[in-house]
């Protein structure tokens, strides 16, 4: 098939550059400047897809982002294909491959089309109503429903394209490059303001740029010529940035906007290689001008969805801009003057317009006179009652409207046509205005919602047709007048323009046009993408839905990827008419970002893969990698999990590591623990207030374990704090809690206790920590630092010494999280790997064994030490943890103290931490498993397992759990019910190993 529908005219298409592409496997060609839609139409292809629910044939209906039907899948490779692309927006490039969506086996023969014949059985809410019972069948229904619903197919592999984010700042952001946007941008930039002009098309000028009829003149030039000159001048202003192919997706508060800039989507595969596909602009503008224009409305009549039925302004654009005839025999159907402009354009290009059906009684204007002079028939006060043609419109039935517009009268006439232009008036694009928090007002005269200038939330203004000005003179004059005030401008070039244009005299609007058939036998489509009809809206109202938001969700009107750009106003109008409400009172549904769909790629930008989040590694990380550690993510940290040897499983490695740590020596990289340096004359008092236990009497050189609560009395964090000097402490926190603990402490210091002279500094990254534990740990430290007195008298458990390894200062704390004698060496991080290697070297003769977090967890569980966040979950008090000993009873106050004797926290039936032993010592419980005391129904859940391991040192399974009234239940038998067995357990003490703490000094 050739481009026989292409006319040779001074249009915007470069007919010297042919571009070949494929649609549904068929090779076609278009020209440079085409969209996929214009190229398809030039090839006489209207049928591009099937509708969502009834699988009716659907064609290209518009020429822009509001397109509901012509949504295609781009790219053949299922791994990288791009679904739900609007054919009206994608620019044609060499090698483009597009496919119809939502049809099988093909768009010409679609099995789902049977739904169309079943449509009387598929009203709004059909799926809700039918598939509710029996509930257990839903899984079976769902498979089929999901299979037959949905639009395009998702790609199966990660996106290979590059995306970018950019922060942008400007004085004035102008959204929309139509005539009002051009004027606004020019006025702003000429004043010296740093201005950005954004438009979603590849060119500037909106619909005026192809308005070449001499009815529309500015200073004696046709409007398109005049505007073209303005654009040329505009492009030369230095402080103006023009961003084409860029669509504003969201307008947030404080003039913060998100826009998607398409950089390579219009290029062929070889040209886009290595380049950024799309860029998300994060714009902060001092002032915003919304000049987003208006979208033409369809008309709602029976079978108004056939391929070949196109918005009349789109037909005009296809002929004037793309030089494409959308048919050879076109009729137009309208309630306003716009269709006459289309008729003039078609007539000029030699396309036959058979008839214009206008629902108005007396639509006379300069335009209509010109039309009648050209011999085109106008049927005034008429309507279309039905259309015919399955895969392409073939004919229309026309009847006269009654005076009140509620019925049709007289005889039916049938006109043959292969294309029907429809125009139901215009809807200002107020989406961005309302997204920013602006409120709309209703203009009854022509049934439009326009921005209420008194309810504008930020420094912004709406101009042009997005502000409800539809005639050329109003657009220009009001834009110039309002921008002048908005930007504080003096006199300018645009004040005394000589503008000639047609003026619309009569308006008439009927939301749902009458037919000679009862509505039950007609199909007046409202939302073309979601296949909802005026009937569905009426059904929803009959079933009791009143709010527009409910009707929308029940009928799915306006819930497609086009967000109801074409359908919302009609849905509102029909609701208002049916319920006898004023549309202004009814209000609109909420417009939410994005204005047009965004790719996930643009949203995430470069934050994918390893850039998704920060990765923190300790200074010793490389050693762990060299020694084949498996790593565990702890927050952003990578921590060694275990060090498998010779193909060991995790279980085997952990058993070996745990035994070695108790029998001889183990070494752990504990650098990730949070470290906060605390200084100031009130440091001791500060610790008294943030920890539950007393700190004033801790002498210099000693360490103490502390428990930190929230003000509600629940355990928040724990760790050992060491007194380094009179007014100097170092606090350790849990790895995951470090940042939050610092913030919490800062909060109290700044807001509650500003009288305390205390300074907090995080030193987590500056110091690295290695912990050597086990009966031979002392010997290893002795080898590294022979001069250090390690005797229990001089260096007892819970104390600290400054020392040196060669010339490197280090702090050594004798503290233990394993229950073994244990030393923690803290050094400046840049020496850490070297010191670690020395420890390993010195420990060789004692089989020093590096261990990871898993072994650490096992060893501390043997001792019954808690891990906050694993054994606690923000609902446990110290008493619940059987740690009453750590509450400073004599202390007047500390964070959370008062909450410890609230009526709720002193309940005896709270969940409390206990130990568990399985009757079968080999049976290891699952963490998270539930605990019950009887299998008799109803089953009472008593608690759950928080930690569970097989202890190689005790040669049996051990676990910690929280159990209701657990403290009183020692010795009680409970049951852990699992999927295929019940495990018998006994409640025990939380300490399983070395209850007398003999090993700390062994």
């Amino acid at each position: 098939m050739s481009n026989n529908l292409r006319i040779n005219k001074n249009n915007f298409i470069d007919q010297t550059v042919r571009i070949s592409f494929k649609f549904n496997g068929k090779k076609l060609f278009g020209y440079k400047g085409d969209t996929l839609a214009s190229a398809l139409l030039a090839n006489n292809i209207h049928l591009v897809g099937r509708s969502f629910k009834y699988h009716r044939p659907r064609g290209i209906m518009t020429c822009g982002s509001e397109e509901p039907n012509a949504i295609v899948q781009i790219g053949k490779d299922p791994a990288l294909t791009d679904p739900n692309v609007r054919a009206t927006e994608i620019e044609l490039y060499e090698g483009l491959e597009a496919f119809s969506q939502n049809c099988w086996p093909s768009v010409n023969f679609d099995i789902g089309g049977i739904n169309n014949f079943l449509s009387p059985l598929l009203p709004a809410g059909f799926y809700y109503k039918t598939f509710m019972w029996p509930a257990s069948f839903w899984e079976k229904y769902e498979f089929f429903i999901r299979h037959s619903a949905g639009l395009g197919k998702s790609p199966t592999k990660p996106d290979q394209d590059l995306y970018d984010h950019q922060y942008v700042h400007c004085d004035v952001l102008v959204i929309g490059g139509g005539i009002s946007g051009i004027l606004s941008a020019k006025l702003s930039a000429e004043k010296g303001l740093n201005t950005i002009l954004i438009d979603d098309k590849s060119y500037l000028g909106g619909s005026t740029i192809y308005q070449d009829d001499d009815i529309f003149k500015i200073n004696n030039e046709t409007s398109n010529v005049w505007l073209k000159n303005q654009i040329e001048k505009l492009k030369k202003i230095p402080n103006l940035t023009i961003k084409n192919r860029t669509s504003v997706a969201a307008f947030h508060g404080y003039n913060y906007l998100l826009a998607r800039e398409n950089l390579t989507d219009h290029l062929g595969a070889h040209e886009r290689k290595g380049k950024i596909r799309q860029r998300l602009l994060k714009i902060r503008a001092k002032k915003v001008v919304i000049a987003t224009g208006a979208i033409e409305r369809p008309l709602i009549f029976s079978n108004n969805d056939r391929p070949g039925i196109i918005l009349s302004s789109s037909i005009k654009k296809y002929i004037d801009y793309y030089g494409v005839k959308t048919g050879e025999n076109i009729s137009l159907f309208t309630n306003n003057d716009s269709a006459y402009e289309t008729a003039i354009s078609l007539n000029k290009s030699g396309v036959k317009v058979k008839v214009i059906i206008d629902i108005r009684e007396n639509p006379s204007s300069i335009l209509s006179e010109k039309i009648e002079k050209a011999g085109i028939k106008i049927l005034r006060g008429h309507t279309i009652t039905n259309t015919d043609g399955y895969k392409r419109i073939k004919s229309i039935d026309v009847m006269k409207l009654s005076k009140d517009g509620e019925n049709v009268v007289g005889n039916k006439t049938t006109y043959k046509c292969d294309c029907l232009g429809i125009s139901g008036g215009w809807t200002p694009m107020v989406h961005l205005f309302t997204q920013s928090g602006g409120k709309l007002k209703f203009r009854k005269n022509d049934n439009v919602f326009i921005p209420d200038e008194n309810k504008t939330p930020s420094e912004q203004i709406s101009v042009g047709s997005s502000n409800g000005d539809f005639e050329l003179d109003d657009v220009i004059n009001n834009t110039v007048k309002n921008i002048k005030i908005f930007l504080g401008l003096d006199k300018n070039d645009y004040e005394n323009l000589d503008i000639k244009c047609s003026k619309e005299k009569q308006k008439r609007n009927i939301w749902l046009l009458p037919s000679d058939k009862p509505i039950s036998k007609s199909k007046p489509f409202l939302d073309f993408q979601n296949d909802s009809t005026a009937k569905d809206v009426k059904l929803a109202l009959r079933e009791g839905f009143k709010s527009i938001e409910h009707v929308k969700r029940y009928t799915t009107t306006g819930m497609g990827t086009d967000q109801g750009k074409l359908s919302n106003m009609h849905a509102l109008g029909i609701i208002a008419d049916t319920t006898g409400t004023n549309m202004g009172e009814l209000g609109t549904t909420t417009f939410r970002p994005p204005y047009t769909p965004l790719t996930f790629g643009a949203i995430v930008g470069r934050n994918v893969g390893k850039f998704f989040d920060h990765t923190r590694r300790t200074a010793i990380h490389d050693w762990h990698v060299e020694n084949k550690a498996e790593f565990e993510n702890v927050g952003q940290w990578k921590r060694p999990w275990y060090f498998p040897k010779n193909g060991e499983t995790m279980y085997q490695a952990v058993q070996r590591e745990s035994k070695a740590a108790r029998e001889s020596a183990g070494i752990l990289d504990a650098s990730t623990l949070g470290k906060i340096d605390i200084q100031g004359e009130d440091a001791s008092e500060f610790l008294n207030r943030v920890y539950t236990n007393a700190w004033s009497k801790l002498s210099i050189g000693k360490c103490r374990y502390g428990l930190m609560l929230n003000e509600d009395g629940m355990v928040y964090d724990d760790g050992v704090t060491t007194r380094l000097g009179e007014n100097h402490y170092i606090m350790t926190t849990t790895t995951g809690g470090a940042a939050n603990v610092l913030s919490k402490l800062e909060d109290y210091l700044q807001t509650e206790w500003p009288e305390l002279n205390v300074y907090l500094t995080t030193v987590t990254d500056q110091y690295s920590t290695m912990s050597i534990c086990g009966p031979n740990s002392k010997k290893i430290i002795k080898k590294i630092i022979p001069s250090l007195d390690l005797s229990d008298e001089s260096f007892p458990h819970m104390s600290f010494k400054n020392s040196k390894i060669d010339n490197v200062n280090c702090r050594i704390m004798r503290i233990s999280f394993t229950g073994e004698q244990s030393y923690e060496i803290n050094v400046q991080s840049n020496y850490a790997k070297d010191v670690w290697e020395r420890c390993i070297e010195a420990g060789k003769e004692f089989n020093i064994t590096p261990y990871g977090t898993e072994t650490m967890h096992l060893l501390r569980a043997e001792k019954g030490f808690i891990i906050t966040g694993q054994d606690t979950d923000g609902t446990l008090t110290p008493s619940d943890l059987q740690m009453d000993w750590i509450i400073g009873k004599k202390k007047y106050d500390f964070i959370g103290k008062r909450s410890l004797y609230r009526s709720d926290t002193i309940r005896e039936d709270r969940k409390q931490l206990v130990g568990l032993l399985t009757d079968d010592p080999k049976e290891v419980l699952e963490e998270g498993a539930q605990l019950i005391d009887s299998l008799e129904k109803p089953i009472d859940m008593l608690g759950h397992v928080t930690s569970s391991y097989f202890s190689p040192n005790l040669n049996k399974s051990i676990a910690l759990a929280v159990v209701r009234s657990g403290k009183k239940l020692k010795g009680k038998k409970l049951i852990v019910p699992m999927e295929n067995k019940n495990i018998n357990v006994t409640i025990t003490d939380t300490v399983f190993y070395d209850k007398e703490n003999k090993r700390l000094n062994a």
């Binding site: 404080y254 913030s743 008062r898």
Partner: protein, 91 residues
């Protein structure tokens, strides 16, 4: 997405800040002398106003200072910012 005028650093994007809830709720000086109900009032009860609200904010990804903000929750307009310990500049 607001712009917040940190009293220490000047105007910055909202993403640099974190909100700490209602302002001017002073921690009782003598918690032990409060009844359960009085303590619960301090601990749990917060206003959630549509309109002018006094809030605590922290410039967490900046100077890390806490300060107060007077914000209209219905339109996110910030009417004032002031330091901790200062009296609200508006009522």
């Amino acid at each position: 997405m607001f712009i917040i005028n940190c009293p220490y650093c000047g105007e910055r994007d909202q993403t640099e800040f974190s909100c700490g809830g209602e302002a001017h709720i002073e921690r009782p000086k003598q918690p032990t002398e409060l009844s359960d109900d009085q303590w619960a009032e301090y601990l749990f009860m917060r206003k959630n106003i549509k309109g002018i609200q006094f809030e605590r904010w922290n410039h967490i990804h900046g100077c890390r200072k806490w300060f107060n903000v007077v914000r209209d929750t219905s339109n996110d307009k910030i009417h004032a910012v002031y330091k901790i310990g200062e009296r609200p500049p508006i009522k």
